[in-house]
Every structure is written in C-alpha cells, then in structure tokens.
Amino acid sequence: MTTPAQTQIRGMGHSVKRKEDPRFLRGRGHYVDDIKLPGMLYMDIARSPYAHAKILNIDASKALALPGVLAVITGKDLDAAGLAWMPTLMSDKQMVLPVDRVVYQAQEVAAVIATDRYIAADAITLIDVEYEPLPPVVDPIKALEPDAPLVRPDREQKTNHIWHWEAGDAGKTDEAFNSAEVVVAQDLYIPRIHVSSIETCGCVASFDKVEGKLTVYMTTQAPHAIRTVFSLVSGIPEHKIRIISPDIGGGFGGKVPVYPGYVIASVASIQTGLPIKWIEDRSENLQADSFARDYHIHAELAAKRDGTMQALRVKTIADHGAFDAAANPSKFPAGLFSVITGSYALDAAHVEVDGVYTNKPSGGVAYRCSFRVTEAVHTIERMVDTLAQQLHMDPADIRMKNFIPPDAFPYKSATGWEYDSGNYPAALQKAMDKVGYAELRREQAEKRARGELMGIGISTFTEIVGAGPSNTFDILGIKMFDSAEIRVHPTGSAIVRIGVQTQGQGHETTFAQIVAEELGLPVENIAVEHGDTDTAPYGLGTYASRSTPTAGAATAVAARKIRDKAKKLAAHLLEASEDDIEWSDYKFQVKGVPSRSVTMQQVAFAAYTNHPQGMEAGLEAVDYYDPPNLTFPFGAYICVVDIDRGTGEVKIRRFVAIDDCGNVINPMIVEGQIHGGLTMGMAPALLEAITYDENGNIQQGNLMEYLLPTAMETPVWETDRTVTPSPHHPFGAKGVGESATVGAPPAIANAVVDALSHLGVTHLDIPITPWKVYAILQEHGATEV
C-alpha cells in the first residue's frame, strides 16, 4: 500500500530515475578533460621501456628545441624540491619521477610541458634517456629467493619482502587439521587485473600565484584525503588547496591512489603560475596505473566425512609491484582478506599473507571489492566445491549443511569479524527455486550420458563493506568516518553535501531519497553536492561499498537532527506541547488529531520567518558518522554453463543472482549495480588477466589483448533479492556496489569445473579461456570434431 504522500515524496524504496542521467545521456557530463582554463598548458609523460634499469643520463635538449615546448621536468628537478618521492596510502613511499633508476615498465621518467597536447606528445619522443638495463624480477615467489634482484634498494630492509600479516588462531587451526577426517588442499592464483575505467586518469592543476592557492580538478574517489596528503607533502596550508572531483567516468578503486602525474602537474603549475592539464592515454592507463588482485594462494579445508566443515588454513603471496601503493585501511595491509571463512560456521581458521615487491606497477587496488574480499570469496567458494567433489556431495547440500544459521547473528567469525545479520539458507533456496536446480541436475545427467558438457556452479558469498569503525579503520591516521551536511531552504527545498564522491553510483539520487524519506520533502526538491573540498564536509570518499553504510548513515542522522528541531518549530506553529507532536506520514501532527498538522515545507518557512523567541533561526545540521560495525551483504548466485566441445568456449546459459543488501533505497539503482557488477565479475572469470614476460614487458598493453567484456559476451542476468536489514545502520542498509563483482567469479568457475568434473578436473584457475578448456578436452578425448 502506498500513501499519496509516499508517492509525492518518493523516499526509501522508490525506483526514482537517476537525477544525474539527463546530463550524461545528453553528453553534458563535465569530466576533467572537459575543463578548459585560460592560458592552460598541456603535459605528457615519457615512460620507461625497461622493467628495471639504471638511468645514466637524460638529454632533453632536442625536446626543448621543439617550438611550443616550455619545460621538461625530470626526477632531479623534483628532487631539488624534495618531491622526487611521495608517501603512499600504505606507509610506503613511491617515486614521482625517478632520479637514477626505474623499477617497472611504463614508469614515468620525465614530463614535458607544452602549449599543445600534440606538441607535448611529439616532445616526449625526443627525450633521449640512456639506460643501463638491470635484471628484473616479475614473479613474487622468485622475488623471495635470496639471490633475487632487489627491487627497492632505497629501503633499509634489503629484501623484496614487504610485510607479513596474519589473522585467526594458528594453534587451534593446526589442531583441527591434525584430527580431521578429510582435508582438501588447493593452489589458486587470482591473476592481476586492471579496472580499465572508461575515463582514464588525469587532472588540471591551477595555481593562483596571487592567492597562493592550488586548485586541482582531479579524477579521484577521495578528494579530502588527497587534499590532506597534498598539504602534508607540499607544505601548502590545507585551506590553500582545493581538490575538485567533477564527474568521474568510473573509479572502481583505481582512482583512490595518488598517481605521479597529479603531483608533477601540480608542481609545474606552481612553478609557471599557469593551469596544467594532464590526461593519460588508454595504453598508459592500462600499463602504469595501479592493478588489482595478483594473489598466489594455498588453501586447505578440514572437514568431517559427513561434510561438516571445521577449519580453514590459508597462506598467500601478494604481489604488490614495485611500491606498496594499495589503498587499504592502514591496519589492514591485506585488506579484509580474513573474511575468507565466508558464509560458513567454522571452528577455526588461520590466514597468512606476505606482501612482496616485484618489477611491476603497484598492485593491490581494491577493484570493485571491499579490500581483497574478491580473493577471499573466490578461495572459500572454490574450496567448498572442492570438498563437495571429494565427498561426492551436492554443492548446494554441502552449503546448506555448513551455513551460519540465521539465528546465530550477530555472529563472531573464526577470524574475529562480527557479522551483523544474515539469512543464507533463504537466499540459496530462493536462487535454487528460481533456477530450477533439481531439474537442471537431471538435465545435466542426461547430457553427460550423451557426452555433452553442462555445468552448474554456486556461490554463496558474504561481503564485508562499509569501512569503517574508527577504532580499527583509518587511512594514514584519518579515521574512516563519513559525513553529511544538510541545509533546508526557507521554501522547503534542500541541499545535501556529502563527504563521499560518486563515480556512477547515483548518489545525487539516492542521497536525495534518504533526505526525502527522513524529512518528508519531495525528492526532486533536494540537491546533492559532493566532490569539492571547499564546500563538502570532510570524508574519506567512495570505495569499498562504503557510501551508503557511512555517508548514507550520516545523511539520515543529520536529517533526524533537523527533524528534531523541526518538531519544536511544529509545536510552536501548532500551538501544542512538543511532547504532543508526532511525525506521521511525512508530516507533524498533534497526536491523534490528523487535521492539525504542518508539513516540513511550512516548518522550514517558519524557521526563517516565524521561529520562537530564543530559538536559533535556520534549519540545518551536520553529522560525522562513525559506524559501530561493518555491514555484511550477502548473496546466492547460480550459474549454468554449456561448454562448446569444438572450441572450448564457456557459454553462460543462465545466471541467477539473489542479493541481500539490507533495506534498499532505490531498487532500480541496486539492480543496475548488480548488472554492472556481474558483468565485471564475469570478465576476470572468463576473459581478463594481465601477464608479463620474463623481461617485465606487460603482455596486455592495449584493449586488443586485454579483453574487456562487451554486450556480446554478457548473458541475461536474472536478479532478485531477499531483505535482511543491518541492525546497526540507521535505516538498515548494507551497501551493494561490489557484491556482484565479488560473488560472480566463483559461481562461473564452479560451473565450469562442475561441467568437467567427470573427466577428473578438480580446479581451474581464472580466467577460464577457451584455450584452457580446449586443452583439457583434447587431453581427455572429449572434443567434438
């Protein structure tokens, strides 16, 4: 039942069309590269052909002789200003421009400032760099050998080992393994992949010499954190730095780190007093920007013979490239990887990760995955299937048997997380009913008898998002709260400013819906602003599905502060005691007397025109929300694949996705997030991987080689949901942006292994390419001629 007021307000639960879409659909989005400032100069960057080399000399004379070239900036120039290195978000440091050595291919070597983008591009080809090649190390396991080339001689510690991290109880876990009836073990490699946003990275840096103020328009997911880091590194007072993150053409974690180009452009602008634009090209973006995944995992699962899972033991080598420039919360160098026990009730678990340097660009970006959760979910979901296969159990049955029971929440996991809420059996049952699981198993048996290959794969994942509570979560010491500021104007419209930054999530719509719901103002009368550090309240930005759990919560709490004051105004207008006023159907009314009521619009007008004596005028509030816990969205995905025995191609016939992200603000946006996320989850399962040859040459430096999914490969996604609200979030939401990317890959991998299991296949590393499958079919004489 919808009331007329609900129809008018369109708050929580309405599929409000996205407010941002009219400008995007009409080509009127305003991205960094759309910014043109008077007198603007252009920057391009010369990059290293070698993965590891000494720089003997840089001769820029020919580049400087080209008409239109104003300057060539090298590491030595930056070194003189103390800016050749910059801190990373992981307490490592990173070269802005190298002084005497390069440590990965496509690393920035020198920058050209010119009057024109094309002149800058021509000029970088004229810079003569003399290198002395050094042997590179591209394999993290070889990098740990004692005679491996040293990637980072600048460090005191003369090894390629960065850090060791562990979680869980080693003793208890070993004990469980020692007495286990069944143990399955598996090596898994989650390959390096790239976010490949449609918009590459770039900035326009503009220093006003009169004001002494630096404004940087930048493709960033976390403008405030960047401002603070810029201030600390440059010494420019923080109020003299303004970071503006305009429309962003996809972030996915790749736009959290600070890239050298931002810093070089800022230095060039400070020196010239002119605006400098730097925009990467596609290949630069693909070759040099930070990467995701690249985890070498060894996992073991202990169980009883009846399929009861008992303990999990995991050892991982994490390839972080040449700089540890990931964007994890400071205390979590391996992110939230310890959520690896997933949706299952385990007695014990122990997880170890060792971070390693190699001669590759930085790794560790949380690509649409709340800090290493994709790697964790892939591991546990594959291990559950491995165990089922070993015990000849159905993968759905083994999951049902081992789920954390719905009445066990809040549930403390074996690695220490407190899961807020969940109902895993309900989600899996709904998925099984929707897909027709029993019927599919019958079909599979028939087809198998005829030699046809069909597989059914399940993934019942638990996500961990919404970083995070300030007692454990910070980035460089800045606590991971988030913020909202709401001002209600006299005529009853409002502006909301938030500390998070949209990159396509639809914040301008969903945050307006939160305020509409809480204040009873129509959604179209609420403007949402974000991304400008001069106006937005301080926040840590958007990634890790944290916007709704943190800034969304802040928005609701700020709105409730406003409603508290509005109630006093309503009492004044209705000439009643505040105690006799109630908020009902989006308006204030005298308890039990619906005819005596005032709307929020009337109250807002009174706040500026007719407020009681002694009360402060205006109607606004700010909230900095420190979440009491993380949120744990979950889902059950079932994938049905057919395998072409002539080509080895995996065809996704059906994919049913049941997601539970708690209470939903905008069902249409959630569905869109799931569709996009599933496609981005299918891609690494079947298509994407970045590899390097022994010399450190990236093998997928363009989109011919790096296979992004297109509409051709994307199946019809069948989505639905269950709703298990978060008990600690102000309106019971959990965040959804990353669930599908995290949950989809193991469903697909499990389906392919299932299709080939009768041939003795127990595991396949992703991406499962046609060639990989065809080789297996050939080996078993199962190809179709």
């Binding site: 990059r47 290293s48 004229l126 090649p133 010399n695």
Partner: protein, 158 residues
C-alpha cells in the same frame, strides 16, 4: 626471442666474408634502414625504422662487432632505443665452405624487445620479427649472388 637459421649462398667463402664485413652492404639489406654513422672498424650506429602493427618506431642502434675469427665466425651485439621502446640483440654467424663456390651461413640471434613495441605489439612481434629476418637474409644472399656486387638491390623499407 630466439632466432636461428642456415642458408646456402652461391659464392666463395671469401666473397661472403668480405660482404659481411662491409657495414654499408650489410646495412643496405636491413629493413627500414635510414642512416649509418661509422664510429670505428667494429663500432657502428645505424638508424632503423620498424613498424609492428600500428606502432612505428625509429631505433638508433649501437652495434659492436666482437669475437671475429676470419673467415668463419663473427658475432655482434646491438643495443638501441626508440621512444618508449628498447631493443637488445646478440647475434653470431658462422660460415663454412661447402665448395669453392658454395658457402653455408648459419646464424643465431637472441633479441629482447622492451617497452611500447613489446607491450602493444606483443601478438604481432614474433611474426614480424621472423618476416624481417627472412627478408634481411634473402636480400643478403641475392646481393652476394648478383652479377654486379657493386650495385646491390635495396631492401624495401617497412
């Protein structure tokens, strides 16, 4: 990348040896050859343009002849840069006289290519390298066998 091959040339070993010791004549067969600077009897700086797929680059090479054992063996190293790319090569060549007028040439080359050409043109690189190598030796043989060795044909630029 590793390449090797043998071919028979209808010429005496001394003629072949003289030919491979004349940098101008060798360079004339190098696909995409543009200019050559001779820095010493065993040290040259040729400039060579190559294209792999959509990527075109002009390499300035530093070539040194090493390990020369007249008239049967020669080796060379080459290192060069182009914008965003680099190449390193080590090659050896062995000659054997099959008869007074027939010489067998065996060659081995190891080539490392780094940077834009390697990463953007990876898929086409091996094939292109084979094609260019074949073209080079074919031109070389034809020129030696040509009636007038003073007017060598030019390899088409690529």
């Amino acid at each position: 990348m590793h390449f090797e091959g043998t071919q028979q040339i209808n010429a005496p070993i001394t003629t072949v040896w003289r030919y491979i010791n004349d940098p101008d004549k060798v360079a004339a067969c190098a696909p995409g050859f543009k200019t050559m600077e001779i820095l010493g009897p065993d040290h040259f700086k040729p400039t060579i343009a190559v294209g792999i797929g959509a990527v075109k680059a002009t390499f300035t090479l530093d070539v040194r002849r090493i390990d020369v054992n007249e008239p049967t063996h020669a080796a060379m190293t080459a290192r060069g840069n182009a914008a965003g790319s680099a190449v390193e090569m080590r090659a050896t060549m062995d000659l054997a006289a099959d008869s007074d007028s027939l010489t067998t040439m065996a060659w081995v080359a190891d080539v490392n290519i780094s940077g834009t050409i390697a990463s953007v043109g990876a898929r086409l690189m091996e094939g292109t390298a084979h094609k260019l190598t074949a073209k080079f030796f074919d031109c070389f043989r034809q020129n030696i066998e040509a009636p007038s060795a003073e007017e060598p044909s030019q390899a088409p630029a690529t």
